[in-house]
């Protein structure tokens, strides 16, 4: 095993974030419109009584449900868990309970948060609770901030600007944070980039070199522990011209995306071609990495800013055909 594998893998923060927009359909539209108006509505099922939030289909028979029933707004706690250290996205930032609440007139429990002032002793199974409504409601589950003891609850304040239109969709932002680890082989490659070197992994029993190293030779699932430096020059084996914008892309449009076979390696490496007039890009053209200034080299593919044309004759297609 290569010494490179003894080093700890590179780590960095990775965030997945998107404001998902969910269309409601008729049943949930009725529920969310009700929340906006400060009301709770359930639906009568065949096998499980009145359900809140209303389900579109019976949980046992799958038959479509349609009989709406006004419920609550108060109800009683049927079970709960006490969250003593709330997480950042959770509804309350002091100790609270997640609870199943059986709203008056409903049969199934409704999941929400319960605020009892941070005092666990103030909640029990059977505790009567009612919603703490937001003043400005948009038709969202969080129009109810949380439930509170019934005696403390206030009716939903009227909206300053009432809306007639039913709620058709809800936005539910998701943000997850990860402590990403790059993998051992990938880390060797990335550390190389910070030193202006392109390191590939050598496949066992042959002279094939993979850039970037994948950790294994995918053909036979053998580890590729030996690393070799390859050139920062190579041949364009194929390309496309990107003219469509994307949030994740930082290059100005249009740009040429190339699959480049680096000299000394045997799988194409994806990057972009710049300093080349549009229309001159072609299969077989020779290119060279344009490195970031020394003080900006990092353990990232961004250490190579782009590839630029090299003043050398093109490589004939037949010589690179099997790498295209």
């Amino acid at each position: 095993m290569s010494e490179a594998y003894d080093q700890e893998a590179l780590r960095g923060p990775h965030v997945i974030e998107y404001p998902f927009r969910r269309s409601c359909g008729p049943v949930l539209s009725r529920f969310f419109s009700g929340l906006r108006d400060g009301k709770l509505v359930g639906i009568r099922s065949q096998t499980a009584g009145v359900l809140v939030p209303p389900a579109e289909y019976d949980p046992q028979t799958a038959e479509a449900l349609e009989e709406f029933v006004d419920v609550g707004p108060a109800g009683e706690v049927v079970s709960y868990a006490w969250v003593s250290s709330p997480r950042p996205k959770q509804p309350l930032q002091r100790p609270f309970a997640y609870a199943l609440i059986k709203l008056d007139g409903a049969d199934a429990g409704f999941l929400h948060a319960v605020d009892v002032g941070g005092d666990e002793a103030s909640i029990a199974i059977g505790t009567r609770v009612a919603p703490r409504w937001k003043a400005e409601r948009v038709g969202h589950i969080t129009d109810i901030e949380c439930f509170v003891p019934e005696s403390e609850a206030q009716p939903a304040p009227p909206l300053t600007e009432p809306v007639e239109e039913p709620v058709k969709s809800v936005t539910t932002p998701i943000r997850l944070e990860y402590d990403f680890r790059a993998g051992k082989a990938q880390s060797v490659f990335l550390r190389g980039l910070a030193e202006k070197k392109i390191l590939g992994a050598k496949a066992i029993g042959g002279d094939l070199v993979y850039v970037p190293p994948r950790g294994a030779d995918p053909r036979n699932a053998e580890l590729t522990p030996e690393f070799v430096e390859v050139a920062d020059t190579g041949t364009v084996v194929t390309y496309s011209i990107v003219r469509v914008p994307s949030d994740n892309i930082s290059f100005d449009l249009p740009y040429v995306c190339i699959n480049v076979l680096l000299d000394g390696s045997h799988i194409p490496f994806f990057h972009v071609l710049q300093d080349c007039p549009l229309g001159e890009e072609r299969i077989g053209m020779r290119v060279k990495a344009k490195w970031a200034p020394d003080d900006q080299l990092t353990t990232s593919v961004a250490s190579i800013e782009y590839f630029e044309p090299l003043d050398e004759p093109d490589v004939p297609f037949d010589q690179i055909r099997e790498y295209c």
């Binding site: 590179l10 990775h14 998107y18 269309s23 579109e56 053909r219 469509v244 995306c257």
Partner: protein, 385 residues
């Protein structure tokens, strides 16, 4: 095969960019109910459900099928969730078929779906981890260089892709479920549409769609007693290979070739060029029609484009391809493969409607995914194998 399997019900939703009229459960439900109605069965007749979709990140849910269990009548039943990248709609159906051919179940519902409008596929497909730089934008960014290679290798005329797109976009007008229908579409309109990932033009690309597709499968004895004609499964095949390795041919991948050979062997097909009447194949970018025609053995290497050029793959050609308008016209990613299967099944059932091929007796369904590395195929016949 222990048991023969027949498709006795097919259901598709209307495909659209944003199906804001329904919830996610409502979307699946629409396809599943139509399949049950086609089969004249009810929820309680179904023994097991096999469901598929592409990455969960598109909808921001983990185990989405668990949340959907009661909407699709799966409560108290086995529910299996398949995910094999873009080929998933096909492989989900293949797994469902194996539930029947193994003799384990007699009646199975299979559903594939995607509700792309909940997020944005370009976002979902281009999530870059730390230390990397996104150079490829979406699926088109990945596949455009492969198309370039195909053109270079085959010397295909540059307008081949336009011709494929024109055919599929015209076919879509005959499909009531199709998402993208462009009135009086012309060659010039496609040719003049913006380049997105050169050589792929806007109108040579698939749309982003919401939609679901479902099929009801049964064993032989039940299929023989079904109210409408069944589509008999003559064979299924799946093959996978790694994304990238030295000297991998990603334009004409070995996995695609082996899957086709396996399929023909199971179905007793000696010469696919003569024995298969029509097909629905996974063409998200128009150039993949000639590419897959070669991979599946309908043309010699480098000559797939001639089939398009000569009109062989047209609706009135000798071997029509994507009669429904295909993925170019409707692309609910995770369902797109099953749509191909469902359309192929309906051809041999004689129930394809306006885009029915007269006398279609053997129809092929095909899906691919990942970096052209996952392949799922099916061959349906109008008679028992």
């Amino acid at each position: 095969m222990t048991q023969r399997c027949g498709v006795i019900g097919v259901g598709q939703t209307k495909y659209d960019a944003k199906r804001i009229d329904v919830s996610m459960p409502g979307l699946l439900r629409e396809a599943a109910l139509r399949a049950l109605e086609d089969a004249e069965l009810t929820w309680s007749d179904i023994e097991a459900v096999v469901i598929g979709k592409a990455p969960d990140m598109f909808e921001g849910m983990m185990y989405p099928e668990n949340y959907l269990a009661d909407a699709i009548g799966a409560t108290g039943k086995p529910l299996l969730r398949v995910h094999t990248a873009g080929s998933v709609g096909g492989s989900t159906a293949n797994v469902a078929i194996s539930m029947i051919t193994s003799g384990i179940h007699d009646r199975v519902l299979t559903i594939a779906w995607e509700k792309q409008s909940e997020s944005n596929a370009m976002w979902g497909l281009t999530l870059s981890p730390p230390f990397s730089v996104s150079v490829v934008a979406g699926a088109g960014g990945f596949f455009a260089p492969l198309i370039r290679t195909y053109i270079r290798r085959s010397n295909a005329p540059e307008d081949t892709g336009i011709r494929v797109a024109l055919k599929d976009r015209q076919n879509a007008h005959k499909n009531p479920y199709a998402h993208l229908k462009i009135d009086d579409i012309t060659f010039d309109q496609i040719a003049n549409s913006p380049m997105l990932w050169d050589p792929i033009r806007y109108l040579e690309s698939c749309p982003s769609s919401d939609g679901a597709c479902a099929m009801v499968l049964t064993n032989e004895s039940l299929a023989e007693r079904t109210p409408r004609k069944p589509a008999w499964v003559h064979g299924t095949a799946m093959r996978s290979e790694p994304t990238q390795f030295a000297r991998r041919d990603a334009v004409n991948p070995m996995a695609g070739r082996l899957a086709a050979q396996d399929l023909y062997k199971q179905a007793g097909i000696q010469d696919p060029r003569k024995e298969i009447d029509c097909m629905e194949i996974y063409v998200p970018f128009s150039w993949f029609e000639p590419m897959w025609m070669e991979t599946m053995g309908f043309a010699d290497e480098g000559e797939g484009w001639k089939l398009t050029y000569e009109g062989v793959t047209a609706l009135d050609g000798s071997r029509p391809v994507n009669m429904s308008g295909g993925v170019l016209s409707s692309n609910p990613i995770g369902a797109s493969g099953m749509c191909r299967y469902a359309e192929a099944a309906n051809q041999v059932r004689g129930l394809a409607g306006e885009h029915q091929i007269d006398g279609a007796r053997k129809a092929l369904g095909h899906a691919y995914g990942g970096g052209s590395q996952y392949f799922s195929m099916v061959l349906f016949g109008d008679t028992r194998p």
